[in-house]
Amino acid sequence: MTAAPETPRARRAVRDVVFVDGARTPFGKAKPDGLYAETRADDLIVKVVRELLRRHPELPPERIDEVAIAATTQQGDQGLTLGRTVGMLAGLPQSVPGYAIDRMCAGAMTAATTTAAGIAMGAADVVIAGGVEHMGRHPMGFDADVNPRFVAEKLVDPQALNMGVTAENLHDKFPHLTKERADRFAVESQAKYAKALANGNIDPDLVPIAIRSSEQGWGLATTDELPRPETTFESIQGLKTPFRPGGRVTPATSSPLTDGATGAILAAGDVAAELGLPARMRMVSYGFAGVPPEIMGYGPVPSTDKALKTAGLTIDDIGLFELNEAFAVQVLSFLDHYGIADDDPRVNQYGGAIAMGHPLASSGVRLMTQLARQFEQHPEVRYGLTAMCVGLGQGGSVIWENPHHADYSGHTDEEN
């Protein structure tokens, strides 16, 4: 019998899981005049999957053990068991299974963590995880048949189903997170995105998408449609507060309604080594947690605590943050909780969803793909965090280790 350790010991995965690569479509405006107004949702994710395979000819498609694709509204062109249909439409062998997954905004994140758990368990070697949301065709909550008990038993504040209202609630709860701080954060998000774009940090992850318009003919989407690089603090002061009269949340401090898809390849560390797949990040731990739905934006705090605990790390160990910007105030509430400055350079180096958009179930993998690039650029950083809030009161967090770091713990048996 050995003595119990004084601090909780980090629980190692049965097998290491690495993030091989990620890609996404350019994000489009979820409006009738948006990039993808006449493009199918499933076609978006299919093209992402095909691009991932094209970028990795060293990966024999028959070695893929699972295709998990998330969407919040699983009907129409986002229905019919996406993971399976996407695999077939992408030309994967019929032997490759797949499934659809939903945790609202954290869909793709959950696709990644769930399949990663399968890898760690030994049930899969290589997986594709991703998400798609064509909010133009599938507005959030559209056609949902909400159980009347939610209202009758006051299980949730009816207003909690309106995400903008939950953001206003966070301003109420944390009065020091002012509209001005939120506005400044939003302006900075746009500026960081513009800089990242200029520096070539955005384009490499994008998959060009052929788009059809019955009015204009075929075109090609190669860039995000939503960013407003011209945004200044002054230019957004006059904006309306659509969620509450005299409120603080404006379109400028909210992520816009977005169409887009993301996908990633994850693999067991050993298998990545065997196949010659790059290991751009090692998954250290993840956690999901619930919060009251009316302050759903606060969700990443408890989920991050959970992931940190599992990893045996503290927030100070995290050198890079990729936080989904559903609303500026919601990110601020997270930073505020951990004592991180609003403009901390470790946070959202390429800007965030306020600039590029938030196609609900897709966003989680975008965070990962961007963190992987930042790891390459910052070998001095050992750990990074991807985190996001989830409608109806949840948070999701994944902690990653940087293989470029000098003290990298490794992901193969030999190294261990």
């Binding site: 093209k47 060009p208 318009s213 019955s214 003919g217 075929w218 090609l220």
Partner: protein
């Protein structure tokens, strides 16, 4: 002043040219992407009429000026989903009134397409076609005029079918194809494939060089644009073949000419004109070659052969909806099929029923040996098709498993559809039906595959004659696209509807015929045979008679046809027709003796693809030839007698109400006898050669329907 359209001008379904700038990856610059789109769904393919062509030209002129101004780095052309274009607007082509207008039609296409062909030389900006779907005729030529081409793996078909409908590829195809893929393949593209009605699949098009790259459909346009960007930046170079040496060119042209002279002869001009253009393509300037295309196209547009071809083309397209068929809802469900007999015809039908209806099929014959032979045929056919990859192994296994054989007629008890294919003897067939009636349910449909006997008589003594319908298949059953559905005296709408429903599932074109001797195809085909043999009996040499119908351009000489059908069958049907229709159907003692002796009537073909000539030795069956003697027909005389007899007979058939109109006769002869589009089936030919007026005092079809109107 507002435009007043000419009253006869058909309304054009305009294919628009939508232009959109695309930023090419890899900093390759702007691609001006032209999408051809008629704004309609996938059931209405893009076609190219004058307004659409003018729009394309206007769009490309803007593109050209932008190229000159250095604003764009490449031009792309693609189509709406699943289609580049199905070709020129045929409605417009057949409404062209004068030669000048016809020349203008060709020039208008060249004026638009040449912008794509000349842009790189003038401005350095290359042009690309992204063939994302069906590209036929003018739809492929727009791509051929571009500098580079990609094709999607799911593009339904690529080809230049023009010579098959009496035209030439006159928007650059005749000049560009031989230079692009070589003269030998060009002959295949422009002549052989259209004759076989077999356009190219994307992989085939890639293989012969009609296109430069093939990309999978899932992200075809994305990959095509990325590829185009690499071509623009020089990362990818596309090799082009040298022109074939003059002797090779001349040799291929000469060999093709010899073959055309034999197979096509003077029956229609289009293939010859196309070959002339190919011959000149090697050394002509592009301008001269395109001018020659304009002239050839115009001459052909103003030809009766071309107008008849379009009439025929439309008939075949419209044939999917049978004339006079009752409400399909009246059809009985067919869940188990019985085939009486297990001979070759029966086994072929059993296979097809099992394959296409997906129901159990039981074949019955008198002894086990014959039953086994029929089952062997089904199994061997399934294995053969599976072995060639034409049938999935599971589907082959399903067909074999679903066809059973028996000697017990009682096995038909649970069949709701029974078709007989026993020997063509009325007494036998009546006995079979009578026996069946005691076994099957009163609602079950009884069908007969008779080719010459009266279906009404066959049914006459039954308790339920209304359930009897004729379904006449042609041999070989799998390949022949036609069936004649025979509406006998007592046939009910339910039985007819069931016959049409079944034949539709069998993927056949069904034509309804009244229960008259020989129905449609055999009545006319055997009449022609009988007429030719009668001339021989009258002293015309067999070799003269054999080739006498060459001006019609039939698929084969008359004795090769006799050989294919079998002289015994021909003699049998001929005799039966004569018994029912009278002396105008000739009798031939010579043919009877040939059948008796089992003599083969033809020699082997001198080369593959050439016709089998009559064996001169069979002359002795008819007595000595007496060419030149009074009353002995020469080739023209034989042709005249055949055309006269055909006109008379068709006139009678229409009077008898065998079919509602000449269109059904034409469709039947095209699909059942393989008669050429250029004859329009047959009645347009009889109209344009004056036979209908001369013999009947009236035309079959109104002037202009299948000819150039006066």
């Amino acid at each position: 002043m507002p435009d007043t359209p000419t009253p006869s001008a058909p309304t054009e379904r305009v294919t628009h040219s939508l232009v959109r700038d695309v930023r090419m990856p890899g900093d390759a610059g702007i691609l001006a992407l032209v999408t051809l789109d008629n704004g309609l769904d996938h059931t209405k393919p893009n076609t190219l009429g004058p307004a659409g062509m003018a729009e394309l030209k206007a769009a490309l002129e803007v593109v050209r000026s932008r190229a000159e101004a250095g604003e764009i780095a490449a031009v792309g052309v693609t189509g709406k989903p699943y289609f580049v274009a199905a070709g020129a607007d045929l409605k417009h082509i057949t409404s062209v009134h004068g030669h000048d207008d016809a020349v203008e039609l060709g020039r208008a296409g060249h004026a638009a397409y040449t912008i794509l062909g000349d842009l790189r030389a003038a401005t350095g900006v290359p042009t690309f076609a992204f063939v994302n779907g069906l590209a036929l005729g003018g739809g492929l030529e727009v791509a051929l005029n571009c500098d580079y081409r990609t094709v999607a793996s799911d593009a339904a078909a690529l080809g230049l079918p023009e010579t098959g409908i009496g035209l030439v590829p006159g928007w650059g195809g005749a000049y560009l194809v031989p230079r692009l893929v070589g003269v030998e393949k060009a002959v295949e593209v422009i002549l052989t494939r259209p004759a076989a009605n077999k356009p190219y699949k994307p992989a085939e098009a890639l293989k012969i060089g009609l296109v430069d790259e093939l990309f999978e459909a899932a992200d075809f346009l994305e990959q095509s644009i990325i590829w185009a960007a690499k071509v623009v930046t020089g990362e990818i170079e596309v090799p082009r073949r040298e022109l074939d040496p003059q002797p090779v060119w001349d040799g291929v042209v000469a060999a093709t000419k010899a073959q055309l002279d034999t197979l096509v002869g003077a029956s229609r001009p289009a293939p010859h004109r196309a070959l002339e253009l190919i011959a000149a393509a090697r050394n002509a300037t592009k301008a001269d070659a395109f001018a020659a295309e304009d002239q050839a196209l115009a001459d052909l547009i103003m030809s009766d052969e071309m107008r008849a071809s379009i009439y025929a083309f439309n008939l075949v397209g419209g044939g999917k909806k049978p004339q006079g068929a009752p409400d399909p809802k009246l059809a009985h469900p067919v869940t188990r099929v019985g085939v009486v007999g297990a001979g070759l015809m029966a086994a072929q039908m059993a296979f097809l029923f099992a394959q296409r209806l997906g129901v159990p099929v039981v074949m019955r014959d008198l002894d086990q040996e014959r039953v086994d032979k029929g089952l062997d045929f089904v199994r061997e056919t399934a294995e053969k098709l599976a072995g060639r990859g034409r049938l999935a192994p599971d589907a082959a296994a399903r067909i074999v498993a679903s066809v059973s054989g028996t000697t017990e007629i009682g096995e038909f008890a649970s069949c709701d559809f029974v078709i007989e294919a026993v020997t063509e003897v009325m007494g036998l067939k009546k006995k079979v039906f009578a026996e069946l009636e005691g076994i099957i349910s009163p609602e079950a449909i009884l069908a007969t595959n008779t080719s010459a006997l009266s279906v009404s008589e066959m049914a006459a003594d039954l308790a339920h004659p209304e359930r009897v319908v004729g379904i006449h298949f042609f041999n070989p059953v799998a390949q022949m696209p036609l069936v004649e559905v025979i509406n006998a005296e007592h046939t009910s709408d339910e039985a007819l509807a069931t016959a049409f429903a079944v034949t539709k599932k069998l993927r056949k074109t069904a034509i309804m015929s009244a229960d008259r001797p020989g129905f449609i195809v055999n009545r006319l085909l055997l009449l022609v045979m009988g007429q030719v043999v009668d001339a021989i009996e009258g002293g015309t040499p067999v070799e003269v008679a054999d080739r006498a119908l060459a001006p019609l351009g039939l698929p084969m000489p008359i004795f090769e046809l006799t050989d294919l059908v079998g002289p015994a069958v021909a003699q049998h049907v001929l005799t039966s027709l004569r018994e029912n229709l009278g002396d105008r159907i000739p009798a031939s003692r010579g043919l009877a003796k040939i059948v008796e002796d089992g003599t083969r009537v033809v020699l082997d073909a001198p080369a593959k693809g050439l016709p089998k000539p009559v064996d001169p030795a069979i002359q002795e069956y008819f007595g000595p030839a007496r060419p030149g003697e009074p009353g002995v027909l020469d080739a023209d005389g034989v042709l005249d007698s055949v055309l006269t007899a055909l006109t008379t007979e068709i006139g009678l058939m229409l009077d008898e109400g065998v079919v509602p109109g000449p269109q059904q006769i034409d469709l039947a002869m095209i699909l059942g006898a393989g008669w050429g589009f250029h004859t329009g089936g047959i009645t347009p030919y009889l109209d344009r050669t004056g036979y209908s007026e001369k013999v009947l005092g009236r035309r079959f079809l109104p002037d202009g329907v299948a000819n150039v109107p006066a």
